[in-house]
Symmetry: C2
Subunit: 243 residues, 2 copies
């Protein structure tokens, strides 16, 4: 696989306490697939400097890209920027562009707001249409946690990313229990090393079944794998419904 890889680092006590449902991981996984970047891992860490620094350094060494979400606001619990700088061994410095954007807002440039204008030395800002910029330092992209802002920052970051072959998917719903088709499905998987076949069971109004998903980069091959799956499920007496 020569496809770029990525890791998402979700930073914030509110995600781990159960207060807040994260939705950024799903968004980033979906969008990165379209760009041919394989989201290989996610991590959720608390607002604790040692943990953040350790995970940033592990992940930036292991993956092509790291995307962090959360912790770049003005309050005392927003420590991501400072931790990213420490992970890279650089100071945080005032960014003139961000200060200019802030001045245009007309709100007082107090110490808390100026914290949001400081980014690690050597970082480049990631502009977006809905908020102050995020930033990139080497292969680490630092985004806000609020989903609408994280999404806008990702859009701003896309031109900075090396893309791979888009990862496509095709799927069919099979109305059979997984235990009834698992062996036949495994045989199809064994024939197609370049396609990743997943089975995701469901219970829809009491009708049990599974969504069978084929993922890969070759659209024609995905189509033929889905046809093989449909044939097998039908032969086992199950209904199918293409998605």
């Amino acid at each position: 696989m020569t496809q770029p890889t990525a890791c998402v680092l979700i930073i914030g006590n509110e995600i781990l306490s159960g207060k807040t449902q994260d939705t950024n991981l799903q968004f980033l996984g979906f969008e990165l697939s379209k760009l041919g970047i394989r989201l290989a891992e996610g991590r959720v860490v608390r607002d604790e400097p040692d943990a953040i620094i350790r995970h940033v350094n592990e992940c930036r060494a292991a993956f092509t890209y790291v995307f962090t979400t959360g912790g770049i606001g003005p309050t005392h619990d927003d420590i991501t920027t400072e931790c990213i700088a420490r992970a890279f061994g650089v100071p945080v410095v005032l960014n003139d562009t961000i200060v200019e954007i802030m001045k245009r807002s007309g709100r007082p440039l107090n110490e808390a707001r100026l914290k949001m204008a400081r980014i690690p030395q050597g970082a480049e800002i990631v502009e977006n249409t809905v908020s102050l910029p995020g930033f990139r330092i080497e292969n680490v992209f630092v985004f806000a946690g609020i989903p609408s802002i994280a999404r806008a920052m990702f859009v701003g970051a896309v031109p900075m990313l090396l893309q791979g072959t888009p990862i496509l998917s095709a799927s069919v719903d099979a109305y059979l229990r997984e235990g009834d088709f698992a062996e036949a499905l495994e045989q199809i998987q064994q024939k197609h090393a370049d396609v990743e076949i997943g089975s995701y069971p469901f219970n829809r109004d009491g009708k049990l079944g599974a969504t069978l998903v084929a993922r890969g980069t070759d659209r024609a091959l995905l189509g033929s794998v889905i046809s093989e799956i449909v044939a097998v499920i039908t032969a086992l007496g199950g209904e199918t419904k293409l998605n």
Copy 2:
């Protein structure tokens, strides 16, 4: 802190591809808080043996408890049980209780189904009311990925957990921008090392503000911290609304 800690390991390509929105992390974080167990970290990993084994071993050494979700069904992409066994260096063995439960269902006991009756040697089953059992081996609890089943398995696991002092929270909505109250809020945080204060900005129908959350084990202290926060926000000209 003498409170037990936990890590959730979410296993499944479907979470990282963006196909499926995980909700188990939020559920487990919320329920563990009530038991006084601090969810310290989450990880999301692909259906790849080396990655699963490495993360299981890292996390079971670092935290009091590890809860995995996903990958214990009958299909070829369900590899969690096998990987847990390998992480502990034990074989998987047929569990008679699970076989008995399966027989009662009347469905054919084929090879795929029997896979679900095999658990690592030395593991103990976690019974529940909605599906086949999950299992526990040492400090690692292995649950299904389907949220309704993961929840039922967690309920079955609660009696096996050492509990701590429940982690409580209190919160108030402040209708001020974070940049306007951040410095005052930090002063309150500095006075109360035993309370974790978080600020989570929102935009409700164009009204900007933040939910200010105080978390800790002393209910009276949380109440007085929230009172201090309300006083500060009010002094800065912001409305507040207790949650």
